[in-house]
């Protein structure tokens, strides 16, 4: 359990986004560095798509 006491500007929690709609003009969103998010999750033994807060 993590309790967040204060947060900086634009802090967010990101997952791998919603791919598949770029050809309709809709961005996928999610983490900017997707491989980094996945690698971080794998190092922790998490499912690779688990959301995380970028730091």
């Amino acid at each position: 359990m993590i309790e967040i006491l204060t947060s900086g500007l634009m802090n967010s929690v990101q997952d791998l986004g919603r791919p598949g709609y770029l050809d309709q003009g809709i961005g996928r969103g999610g983490a900017m560095d997707r491989p980094a998010l996945r690698i971080a999750n794998l190092l922790l033994g998490n499912p690779e798509a688990r959301p995380a807060a970028p730091a």
Binding site: G20, L22, D23, Q24, G25, R28, P35
Partner: protein
């Protein structure tokens, strides 16, 4: 009519967009309709490669988004170049959709100025804008926006010196050598000639964007005001 692609065209240039995307750019001096058919074909077929996440057609270009942990960039690059050079038959074109447009008045606030600047009558502007059968080359820039090819070159016009903050959804607009339709209310520096009641983007539809690449559209004047 089916025909085999044999003509000479710009050799595509590939460039990396970060670690997980490659842009294929085949744009030459002017829009090439047959190169665009290749763009659509690659967009369809490359999706079947394991590790390819999205294929995104643009105007004579194509972005392929892939998973760099699953797919070697060199492999997808080679597939793109090989497929580009493989001869193929033209596909049957997509649907033809009539787009009703109210030209002028509140719906087309720039129409009178546009006609004056071209030294043409409003009727002539509307006639030239409604004459072509436009082709949807690509969808993007904003949700559901269509990049149309086929604008009469005499209607090309440089963008407004300062863009409007909010151009209403449905506005039929001209900017540069292109014409388009606003799918949502958003900023734009293009000239507003009219407006359609068609809803180009509805997130509640199974496919939110009304049009897809390869569709063709015809503007049909509803009334002149």
């Amino acid at each position: 009519m089916e025909s085999i692609m044999l003509h000479e065209e710009t050799k595509p240039r590939l460039s990396y967009e970060g670690t997980g995307a490659i842009l294929l750019d085949a744009a030459g001096g002017s829009f090439d309709a047959r190169a665009q058919e290749k763009v659509w074909r690659l967009a369809r077929e490359l999706k079947f490669i394991h590790g390819v996440e999205e294929t995104v057609p643009g105007m004579n270009n194509l972005m392929v988004v892939f998973d760099p942990l699953e797919l070697d960039a060199y492999v997808i690059e080679q597939s793109m170049l090989d497929l580009w050079d493989t001869p193929f038959r033209s596909e049957e074109p997509g649907r033809i959709v009539d787009v009703p447009v109210h030209y002028g008045g509140q719906d087309g606030v720039d129409l009178d100025d546009f006609a004056r600047a071209k030294s043409l009558s409003v009727d002539e502007i509307v006639a030239r804008h409604t004459a072509p059968l436009y082709s949807v080359a690509a969808v993007g820039a904003m949700p559901g926006f269509v990049y149309l090819s086929g604008l009469d070159p005499s209607l090309a016009a440089s963008r407004l010196s300062s863009p409007r903050q909010g151009v209403p959804r449905g506005s039929v607009i001209i900017g540069g050598t292109q014409t388009g339709i606003m799918p949502i209310t958003a900023p734009s520096g293009w000239h507003i000639l009219g407006r359609t009641p068609l809803d180009l983007f509805d997130p509640s539809r199974e496919r939110p964007a009304l049009f897809r690449p390869g569709d063709r559209i015809r503007f049909v004047p509803e009334r002149l005001t």
